[in-house]
């Protein structure tokens, strides 16, 4: 995506789940943090399962007009704490809050996805936000607590 396109993005993708990454050993607080989500994922179009799913890994990045969530590319895996940790086989988890209830997911890498396969699985908007020259990172999430 070029800079001009990035400048007019809404911050979130429609349908994304936003949450908080937890490094190894860290437990979620009793209530959701007061600060902005630090992680997000996008489920495949039509995905109904909530206990185990393959999804796009989204990262919040700065654009010319603010911030927006974009699919993480393979080139960016060393940039973020959770994606670097997962590369090093660390047990990172994603906590997703719904009111006061939290769903806790174990995360691991799934197969990366070629850019032109993003739209059929995740929608055109997701592909439009992804790097056109690098595979997108997919995660496999497993619900461990809800």
């Amino acid at each position: 995506m070029n800079a001009a396109a990035a400048s007019i993005l809404s911050e979130e993708l429609e349908g994304q789940w936003s949450g908080y990454w937890l490094d190894p050993g860290r437990m979620p607080e009793a209530m959701p943090p007061a600060y902005r989500p630090t992680g997000a994922i996008l489920r495949r179009v039509g995905e109904a399962r909530r206990d185990e799913l393959v999804c796009l890994d989204l990262v919040r990045v700065e654009t010319r007009s603010g911030f927006a969530w974009l699919p993480l590319s393979e080139a960016g895996r060393y940039t973020y704490a959770h994606s670097l940790g997962l590369l090093q086989k660390e047990p990172w988890r994603l906590a997703i809050w719904d009111g006061a209830a939290v769903s806790l997911y174990d995360a691991e890498y799934a197969d990366a996805l070629a850019p032109d396969l993003i739209a059929p699985l995740y929608g055109a908007e997701a592909q439009g936000r992804a790097r056109p020259d690098r595979p997108a990172v997919q995660l496999r999430l497993r619900l461990v607590r809800s």
């Binding site: 990454w21 050993g25 700065e62 590319s73 080139a75 940039t79």
Partner: protein, 190 residues
């Protein structure tokens, strides 16, 4: 929690081949600015800092928990590598790769915050470096960094803590890897 040494050993800064490849590229690039590219002796003394010495310093400062010096060494390293092509104060050759551009921007924000400590108030369209860095720390996904970003507005001196050094090291590792790949200086082992 990962120790500093464990985190450091997993980066290109602990990879002799990667450090040597970048060190050589930086020396040659700097020498060419002064038409010294063919002088093998000049390559040895072309600049007061080198990638090899800074890589050692970053590791050692972290080992001794001198976090602010550690971050300062990361800031010097990013300038040495990413400003080498331009031969000045601005990075060159990174804008065309969005992932590389983002991490270099984070590293520049770190540099400005540690190297311009008297710059306290935004003026003339320039955001105070610490304010800028706090913005970037707030969107990080490391819980320790996010918690630091919550405390920093009240006391900028907290920048001298471990999470800043871990954040700086992670960004320098990501940037260096992408840069080495982009310049085809080395093929990283999977």
């Amino acid at each position: 929690m990962k120790t500093w040494r464990e985190a450091f050993e997993a980066t290109w800064l602990a990879d002799k081949d990667a450090v040597a490849a970048l060190d050589g590229w930086v020396r040659r690039t700097l020498a060419e600015h002064r038409d010294l590219g063919d002088d093998v002796h000049a390559l040895e003394s072309v600049a007061p800092w080198s990638v090899e010495t800074l890589a050692r310093s970053i590791g050692a400062f972290g080992d001794s928990q001198q976090w602010l010096w550690c971050v300062t060494a990361v800031a010097l390293m990013q300038e040495l590598i990413f400003c080498a092509e331009g031969g000045g104060l601005d990075p060159a050759g990174v804008a065309t790769d969005s992932d590389l551009a983002r991490v270099v921007e984070a590293l520049r924000a770190i540099r400005n915050a540690v190297a311009h400590p008297a710059f306290q108030r935004s003026k003339g369209g320039n955001t105070a470096p610490m304010i800028r860095l706090i913005e970037l720390l707030q969107i990080d996904d490391d819980p320790d960094v996010t918690e630091l970003a919550l405390r920093l507005p009240d006391a900028w001196s907290y920048l001298a803590e471990r999470p800043t050094a871990m954040y700086a090291l992670r960004n320098l590792n990501a940037a260096g890897r992408l840069f080495i790949e982009r310049k085809r200086l080395l093929k990283f082992r999977p």
